[in-house]
C-alpha cells in the first residue's frame, strides 16, 4: 500500500517547513515536496506606508538577516530619492552587510549544520544540536558562538542594536561611525580570522565522510545567479547581475536590477506558499537557478581577499554543482567577510560625518538589490506623489532556491528512503539537504507544524487509511 511520510517541522533550519514523501506500493519514493507553510503578505500591508519607514519595516521580514532587508530596502529608497549617497555611507552599509553575513553563516554552519557534520547523519536526534556538539567538541561549539558574536557585535557597534537596528535609512545611514567603535571592530578581526581558518582546516578533514551525500546533493542541475563587479570578485552590495549555467558558461551578464522583470519571473506551485523565481527567457522550470554562497563562488573569478582566495582552491576542486558545497562556500565567505570588513574599516574616510543624503522623493519607483547571506535579494517599490507606497514586490534570497530545494528533497529521498525500513538517519538526510541551502524561511514566511513525524498509509487515490507515528 502507498505511504506518505510527513516531516514536520523540518528542524535546524531558519524558519519552519514541512517535507512530504510519497511512497508507491513497492515502498519506493514516488514523489517528494518541500512545503513552506506560511505567508505574511508584506507586499500587501506596506501599501499606503511612507517609504521612509520601509527599511525598518521590511527588516521585520527576517530577524536572522534583517540587515539584508535593511540594505536592499534602503537602496530601493535611495532610488526613490534619486540621490547618490555619500561614499562613507556606502562603505558603512557594506560593513554592516558583511557583518551580518558573518553572523548568519556562523549560525547556519555551527548552530544548525555542524551537528550533522561532526556527529554524522545517523547520530541520535537528542544529540544533534549545538549542545551535542559542545559535548563532543567544545572548541568547535565555542568557536561558532564566538564567530557569530563577532558579526553581531559589529552590527551592534554600527547600528546600536543587534537585531533590527534602525540605522540604515533612505539616503545613507543616520549616524557616522565613531573612532572607538571602529577600533573595537578592528580588534576582533584577527580572532575571527583564526576561527575561520581553524574551522576550514577541520572541515577539510570531514569532507571525505560525506562523498555519498555530496554526490546525491549534486543531482539537481540549475543555473546560478549573483551580483558581480568590475574586478570579477565577490560582490555583496551592488552591481549588475550575472547568470551562468551548470557548466559555468555565462548565459547573461551585466543585467541591471532596474529591469529585473525582463529577465526574472516567478512561478506558483500549489503545495508551497513560497514562490519560485526563474530566468524568464528559459521559462519554468528550465530557467530555475540557485543563489547564495555556492552560486556566488561559481560566478566570480576570485574572492578578492588573500586568505579567502587561498581557500578558493579547496572549493574549486570539488563538484561545484553539489548543493552540499554550500557549506564549503559559506566558510570561505566568512573568511572573505572578515577580511573585507577589516579593509573597509581602514579606509581613510570611514569616520566621515557625511553619511546621509537628504532629498525629497524624485522618482516614482526604485529597485534595490544586494546579496543576502542566502543569495540575491531584491526590493522593488512604487510610490505616489506624496511618497506613500503604492506597490511593493520582493524577490527573496531563499525563494530563489525554492525549486532546487524541492527537487533536492526528491533526489535525496529517492536515494535514502525505503518504505520497508524507515529510520531516522534517512529522514535526517532529507532534512540536511534543506539545511545545506540554509533557507531563511522567515524571510518569506514560516510556521511550526504541530504533528510529529508520521507515516501515513494511503490508498492509491490518496486517502489516508493509517497513520504511523514515530
Amino acid at each position: 500500500m502507498a505511504q506518505r511520510i510527513v516531516i514536520d517541522p523540518v528542524t535546524r533550519i531558519e524558519g519552519h517547513a514541512k517535507i512530504t514523501i510519497q511512497l508507491d506500493d513497492a515502498g519506493e519514493v514516488a514523489d517528494a515536496h518541500f512545503h513552506v507553510t506560511q505567508v505574511r503578505g508584506f507586499e500587501k500591508f506596506v501599501e499606503g506606508r511612507p517609504f521612509h519607514e520601509m527599511p525598518s519595516l521590511m527588516a521585520r521580514i527576517c530577524g536572522i538577516c534583517p540587515v539584508s532587508h535593511l540594505v536592499a530596502s534602503a537602496k530601493a529608497c535611495d532610488e526613490l530619492l534619486a540621490v547618490e549617497i555619500p561614499e562613507t555611507a556606502t562603505k558603512l552599509r557594506q560593513i554592516l552587510n558583511l557583518a551580518q553575513m558573518i553572523q548568519s553563516h556562523a549560525l547556519s554552519f555551527f548552530y544548525l549544520s555542524s551537528p550533522d557534520l561532526l556527529l554524522g547523519m545517523d547520530e541520535v536526534p537528542e544529540k544533534r544540536s549545538l549542545f551535542g556538539v559542545a559535548e563532543a567538541d567544545p572548541v568547535l561549539a565555542r568557536d561558532g558562538v564566538r564567530l557569530r558574536q563577532i558579526g553581531q557585535t559589529i552590527i551592534e557597534l554600527l547600528g546600536g542594536k543587534r537585531i533590527h537596528p534602525g540605522w540604515v535609512v533612505p539616503g545613507g545611514v543616520n549616524a557616522p561611525l565613531s573612532e572607538d567603535a571602529r577600533d573595537a571592530m578592528l580588534a576582533m578581526i584577527p580572532e575571527g580570522l583564526d576561527i575561520a581558518r581553524r574551522t576550514l582546516e577541520w572541515y577539510r578533514t570531514v569532507l571525505p565522510y560525506f562523498e555519498d551525500e555530496i554526490a546525491t546533493f549534486a543531482n539537481v542541475k540549475t543555473l546560478f545567479m549573483g551580483l558581480t563587479n568590475a574586478e570579477n570578485t565577490l560582490e555583496f552590495y551592488d552591481g549588475p547581475v550575472r547568470i551562468i549555467n551548470g557548466t559555468g558558461e555565462v548565459i547573461a551578464d551585466q543585467l541591471s536590477a532596474d529591469h529585473y522583470t525582463e529577465f526574472l519571473q516567478e512561478a506558483v506551485e500549489p503545495w508551497s506558499f513560497l514562490k519560485t523565481p526563474f530566468y524568464r527567457p528559459m521559462g519554468y522550470p528550465d530557467g530555475v537557478y540557485r543563489v547564495g554562497p555556492l552560486a556566488r563562488l561559481n560566478i566570480v573569478g576570485r574572492c578578492g581577499t588573500p586568505r579567502a582566495d587561498e581557500y578558493l582552491g579547496l572549493f574549486r576542486e570539488q563538484d561545484t554543482q553539489s548543493s552540499f558545497h554550500y557549506h564549503t562556500a559559506r566558510l570561505i565567505e566568512i573568511m572573505y567577510g572578515l577580511e573585507k570588513v577589516g579593509m573597509l574599516l581602514r579606509e581613510p574616510d570611514i569616520l566621515s560625518k557625511r553619511t546621509r543624503a537628504v532629498a525629497e522623493p524624485n522618482r516614482s519607483w526604485g529597485v534595490g538589490i544586494s546579496e543576502a547571506p542566502r543569495g540575491t535579494l531584491l526590493h522593488h517599490y512604487e510610490i505616489d506623489d506624496n511618497g506613500l507606497i503604492t506597490r511593493a514586490n520582493l524577490i527573496i534570497a531563499t525563494g530563489n532556491n525554492n525549486y532546487a530545494m524541492d527537487r533536492g528533497v526528491y533526489e535525496v529521498a529517492k536515494r535514502y528512503v525505503r518504505g520497508g525500513s524507515l529510520n531516522d538517519g534517512m529522514l535526517n538526510r532529507v532534512e540536511s539537504i534543506i539545511r545545506a541551502f540554509d533557507p531563511c524561511l522567515s524571510c518569506s514566511t514560516h510556521a511550526v507544524g504541530q504533528m510529529p513525524m508520521q507515516v501515513e498509509l494511503l490508498t492509491p487515490n490518496g486517502e489516508v487509511v493509517e497513520v504511523l507515528k514515530r
Binding site: I7, D8, P9, T11, R12, H16, K18, T20, H35, V36, T37, V39, R40, G41, E43, K44, F45, L57, R60, I61, C62, G63, I64, L112, P115, P125, E126, S129, L130, F131, A134, R142, V145, R146, R148, Q149, Q152, R162, I163, H164, Q265, E266, A267, V268, E269, P270, W271, F273, K275, Y284, N428, C440, S442, H446, A447, V448, G449, Q450, P452, M453
Partner: protein, 177 residues
C-alpha cells in the same frame, strides 16, 4: 539536580527573538547544565513533549497550523512565555489585519505577473482572517515585549524563571524595544 525542561517555538514572526536568544552568546552553553532544551527549532525533536517546564513562544497566531500548535504547546507547558512583540501584541504580522488574509493572498499569488498564478492550497495551512497575539488564543503566564527583546532581557527573564521567580520586566523592555 534535574535540569529544567525548556522549549522554544515560533509561530508567525521573523525569528528575530530566537536570534536575540542566541545573542546571549556564550551564556547559552553555560546554561547547558541547568536546562534541557527539549524542543526547539535548534534541536531535532519533532513532536512537542508531554511535559515542558518553560516554553518561549515567538510569533503571532496567524494560520490554522499556528492555532493547533499553540493549543498543544499550552496543554503541555507549565509556564508559557509570550516572547517578543509578535507573540505579545501581534506586531508586524498583525498589520495584515486591517486588509484581511484574502487580499494578502490575492496580492501575492494572483495579481503579479506570475507563471501559473494560483493560491497554494495543498498541505499548506489556511490563514486565519485575523492574526492574534498568543494570549488572545491561550492563557499566557509571562510577557516579554520587544522587537526583539534584548539578549540581556531574555537572559534575565530566563534566569529568574529558572530560579523559580516571576521576572519583573518593567523598565527592562517595552513594546518596540
Amino acid at each position: 539536580m534535574t535540569r529544567t525542561k525548556i522549549a522554544t517555538v515560533w509561530l508567525d514572526g521573523c525569528s528575530g527573538c530566537h536570534m536575540s536568544f542566541l545573542d546571549i552568546d556564550g551564556a547559552l552553553l553555560d546554561l547547558a547544565d541547568r536546562i534541557d532544551l527539549v524542543y526547539s527549532p535548534l534541536v531535532d525533536r519533532k513532536d512537542f513533549p508531554d511535559s515542558v517546564d518553560i516554553t518561549l513562544v515567538e510569533g503571532a497566531v496567524s494560520s490554522e497550523d499556528d492555532l493547533a500548535k499553540i493549543r498543544k504547546v499550552r496543554a503541555h507547558t507549565r509556564t508559557l512565555v509570550a516572547f517578543g512583540d509578535c507573540a505579545v501584541t501581534g506586531n508586524v504580522p498583525a498589520l495584515r489585519n486591517s486588509v484581511g488574509a484574502e487580499s494578502v493572498l490575492r496580492r501575492v499569488y494572483l495579481e503579479p505577473d506570475l507563471h501559473a498564478p494560483q493560491v497554494p492550497n495543498l498541505v499548506v495551512p489556511a490563514l486565519l482572517n485575523v492574526v492574534k497575539p498568543v494570549h488572545a488564543v491561550v492563557p499566557v503566564d509571562v510577557f516579554i515585549p520587544g522587537c526583539p527583546p534584548s539578549a540581556k532581557t531574555i537572559l534575565y527573564a530566563l534566569t529568574e524563571l529558572l530560579d523559580g521567580r516571576m521576572p519583573d520586566l518593567s523598565n527592562r523592555t517595552r513594546f518596540g524595544a
